[in-house]
Symmetry: none
């Protein structure tokens, strides 16, 4: 079954809004085992829309179209659908009922411009819209069954799950395929090193489609598979996941799409431990990430964001002599910061970051991208030095923060 998606409207075409509708529809279809082969987007121009619908009508078996069903003169989708099929617009009784029901249940009169929304191509079947004024409709053009839906995400989502998916299931008939997607999140290897390590995987698991996605600073490995039997499919995915874990090792931080900060939060909770953070160049990003997790107050106690040397002394008790002699970006400073914040908070762990995010501040022996990470526990404080090749403040903040959390994660894993 060849399926396409078409988004309509000048807003999307000109980039004023990104097209999230098509992504939603593709995901919903994937969940019932159907894969879309193409998305398109055209603007509010009848001729363009007609020619695009006619192209799709020849290529696809099923198409889902969003947008242009509203009451204004911009809304030309029903007209274009009628032209593409070579039929007239006629008043559709079920569509009129959908429009009138919407207003009646809200104690408001139905206006004439809203009644326009019930004018559908001859032969169309209305799709009920319980949460908005614009009814959708299905229409066969050439060999393709089109589902026309409003572009308002909220209304469209509802109609996809209530009407479109069940209808497509019926069209498809029995014997349908199940599908699985697995997201394995890694950190610490470059994209090409990750690809290198995964050599041999596709030969071993020929049924699985392998994908890579760089979501800076992490790299996700994606496994896609489909089949008829749930048990066989699940067993295959588990085996494949094991194989990835073996190849990529500790650089894998989650196999279920969980973020690094959520993984760290879970480990801290499990071990009934607490954390305090001292940030210089990351400027609050680590704390922001940690506190994005609901319930983080159980393990996250406090942070000192100490941008100046003076702040490091006042807030974290870092010795002014050490700062003077070794500078802010140094092992001793990172360790003292982690010890200081741990002591002040009375936390199990103290995590500290001090480095040069850029664009300024780099030197020959400490170029932009240099960072020292300190980790203090009850027993000791250790320092870790890295130098990342980015000359970009925002990327450096991100990778420094991620590296610090990863060091804590590895410590917590023992």
């Amino acid at each position: 079954m060849i399926i396409e998606i078409l988004a309509t409207g000048d807003e999307i075409l000109t980039g004023t809004v990104a097209d999230t509708n098509s992504a939603h529809i593709a995901q919903a279809l994937k969940e019932i085992g159907l894969f879309v082969v193409r998305h398109s987007c055209v603007g509010d121009d009848v001729n363009h829309l007609v020619s695009t619908l006619q192209e799709i009508a020849i290529r696809a078996d099923v198409a889902v179209v969003t947008g242009g069903l509203g009451p204004t003169t911009d809304d030309i989708t029903a007209e274009a659908a009628a032209k593409s099929a070579g039929v007239e617009l006629v008043l559709n009784r079920s569509a009129l009922r959908s429009v009138e029901d919407y207003f009646t249940t809200r104690n408001r009169p139905t206006s004439n411009s809203n009644k326009k929304q019930a004018m559908l191509p001859f032969g169309a079947e209305a799709i009920y819209n319980s949460v908005g004024t614009a009814p959708g409709f299905t229409l066969k053009i050439e060999k393709c069954l089109f589902y026309f839906l409003p572009g308002v995400p909220f209304e469209m989502h509802r109609m996809i799950s209530d009407s479109v998916l069940p209808s497509i299931e019926t069209v498809r008939g029995g014997g349908r395929e199940l599908s699985r997607v697995k997201t394995i999140s890694t950190f610490g290897l470059t994209e090409s090193a990750t690809v290198e390590r995964m050599k041999g995987f596709s030969a071993e698991f020929s049924e699985i489609k392998l994908g890579f996605r760089a979501k800076f600073p992490e790299i996700q490995i994606k496994l896609y598979a489909s089949g008829k039997d749930r048990k066989t499919l699940n067993a295959l995915m588990s085996k494949a996941t094991e194989s990835v874990l073996k190849k990529i090792g500790e650089n894998v931080f989650s196999v279920d799409g969980m973020s690094m900060e959520a993984v760290v939060g879970e480990l801290l909770t499990e071990k009934k431990t607490t954390l305090a953070v001292a940030e210089s160049c990351t400027g609050g990003l680590i704390s922001h990430m940690l506190t994005n997790i609901a319930g983080s107050s159980k393990y996250f106690l406090l942070s000192g964001i100490t941008y100046s040397n003076d702040a490091k002394t006042k807030m974290l008790d870092v010795s002014p002599e050490v700062l003077k002699r070794f500078g802010a970006v140094h092992e001793k400073t990172a360790k003292m910061m982690s010890e200081g914040v741990r002591r002040i908070a009375g936390a199990t762990y103290g995590l500290a970051v001090t480095g040069i995010a850029g664009p300024g501040g780099g030197t020959d022996d400490k170029p932009v991208g240099t960072v020292w990470i300190g980790l203090a526990t009850a027993r000791s404080a250790r320092g870790y030095r890295f130098c990342f090749p980015f000359n970009n403040r925002s990327r450096n903040k991100k990778i420094f923060a991620m590296k610090a959390l990863d060091i804590l994660r590895r410590e917590l894993m023992g």
Copy 2:
């Protein structure tokens, strides 16, 4: 000039990520007065990609294609482009230089899988990528000039502005229309209140297309205009901007796309003042925003991220009695936090936020979305209470942080 955009990749096709690249490209083209007629998206399938490229080659004069230029076996765009044009892949010297430069400036060796990225269709011209490994390229197929770019947004954005737009300008040649886009950033009014306030604008400035864009928590007002004469056009835009400022007033925080944190940073620098921040529920977001601005170390001294009551006392000297009697989310606490952090840092301003971001922690008189903001100066400390209607942790963090920065901005504007 007929322009199309094509996004490639299974990630977008299956809806795992929404296609924001195409929106970015359409916007960038609109800003130089060019309108796209169609977007498409196909997956990582050579045959599909070839037939789509060939269709576009017949329809369009210019096409921008993103994705599939990386070092992995998924990356099939160069191969598909070569097939569509009926040519071979050959080693492109300029592309190889782009790849090697990337690694050399980062003191890393170029791997063989990266060298694959320099294999381009015969006749292609490389587009230099200064911020990533994948060079882009241009290639004429049939009557259409294609620009192939990597799908990593960060790299693609850079190549669009540095190479693609200037090249398209050259192709387009003289006699063209100039165009202007003005982004006016506002905060503090709802979208419908903003629209209401702008009533009468379009009657007064009929040559200008007016747009609104909700970029939570700010609302942007966009003005689009085009014409042949630079002077007339600039005068029109200035007059229109004045009119917007009059209608929206102090809720406008920038008229040049600057972020709130950049505006606050500029005001602090201008007045040679400094800032210290105390964050509870925003958990580091304010500090993260402030330190995203290069040069923020001139005015941003330190923050205390004090999540627990205990931390508020230890780090910011908030009296345990006040916390016990009034609780963490209270005017007195917010004021003491702002005074405490200001004193410790020796800063001109102390800014504090304490509230309930959710999902838990709300009560009848302090529901989720309640926040107290404290602002301490040499003369006084003031508290401001707000209650936002969001039951969403991430939205609450964002709007609390923005509100705190806006209060400081208004104070700095006098």
